[in-house]
């Protein structure tokens, strides 16, 4: 194992629900059929990934665990939406920061999770953080795996 990369911190989320919805109709249907009702119901998304293809559009998002039932109800009330929907819980988010556009950080994190045999539902980067969506009951293992390749401050940041 090489030298650890210094990081400023790591965040671990509480239990969340992972929702993926796909739709083969023209783009915009998912916005109207799924995202708009979520907003109307004041359901916050911690993470959102959207994809618009020629034949299909997809939304992948993570919501607070407490909003799972309401979200399932919202999806079930729309048969078109329910066909292409998948709801999985509980998941958790683990974010390390700062990313500083470092591909090495992405690579090391992916290798650490793979070596710990932790399935990754999705991952994304942002202005500062690199975030992985994994099963909630594997978060502590993921944290331990990351501590093998990253140096975190002694006094733990949010969620540690």
């Amino acid at each position: 194992m090489g030298e650890k990369i210094p990081m400023e911190g790591v965040n671990v989320s509480p239990k969340m629900v992972r929702v993926s919805v796909s739709h083969s109709s023209p783009e915009g249907d998912l916005t109207v059929g799924f995202l708009h009702p979520l907003a109307q119901d004041r359901i916050n998304m911690k993470l959102l990934i959207t994809e618009e293809g020629k034949e299909e559009s997809r939304v992948f998002c993570c919501l607070a665990g407490a909003d799972g039932t309401r979200t399932r109800g919202l999806i079930d009330s729309n048969p078109d939406l329910a066909k292409g929907a998948e709801v999985h819980e509980p998941v958790g988010l683990i974010s390390i920061f700062p990313l500083r556009s470092s591909l090495k950080t992405v690579g090391l994190a992916l290798i650490a999770l793979a070596e710990a045999r932790i399935p990754v539902h999705g991952f994304c980067s942002s202005l500062s953080a690199l975030t992985f969506v994994i099963d909630h009951d594997r978060l502590q293992e993921a944290l331990a795996a990351f501590e093998g390749c990253f140096d975190f401050p002694g006094e733990g940041p949010a969620g540690r």
Partner: protein
């Protein structure tokens, strides 16, 4: 000696900390960062910032507690505190209330989502 004013940015959202820091650095400020109330106190004692931009909802120790302790401590009470509040319409359920905010001794309050230009104006006003 570096005469740039030091601003401490405290929020558990690293992206927000980064965004505010980039803006402050572009305006010629030095920036220290912390991601919860305990880290904030560590930075305050070690680096003694001129001004603190402090989020309310944070783990370990929330922004109201940090602000309260700081303003009651004669060693640090003259440090300007700008509280970032996201209580009310923007948050559906929270254990914090506007009443907590009204009794907090912060010098300035800014609601989230933040208008960065407005925040910079306030920072400039207090660091002249």
């Amino acid at each position: 000696m570096d005469d740039k004013k030091l601003i401490l940015v405290v929020d558990d959202d690293p992206d927000l900390v980064e965004a505010i820091s980039m803006k402050l650095e572009s305006e010629n400020y030095r920036v220290a960062k912390a991601y919860d109330g305990i880290q904030a106190w560590d930075r305050i004692k070690r680096e003694r910032p001129h001004l603190i931009i402090l989020d309310v909802m944070m783990p370990n120790k929330n922004g109201y507690q940090v602000c309260d302790e700081l303003k009651k401590d004669s060693q640090y009470s003259n440090i300007t505190v700008v509280l970032l509040t996201a209580v009310g319409d923007a948050v559906t359920s929270t254990k914090y209330t506007h009443m907590d905010g009204k009794t907090a001794l912060a010098d300035e309050f800014i609601p989230k989502p933040i208008d960065l230009d407005n925040l910079m104006e306030i920072v400039k006003d207090y660091t002249r």
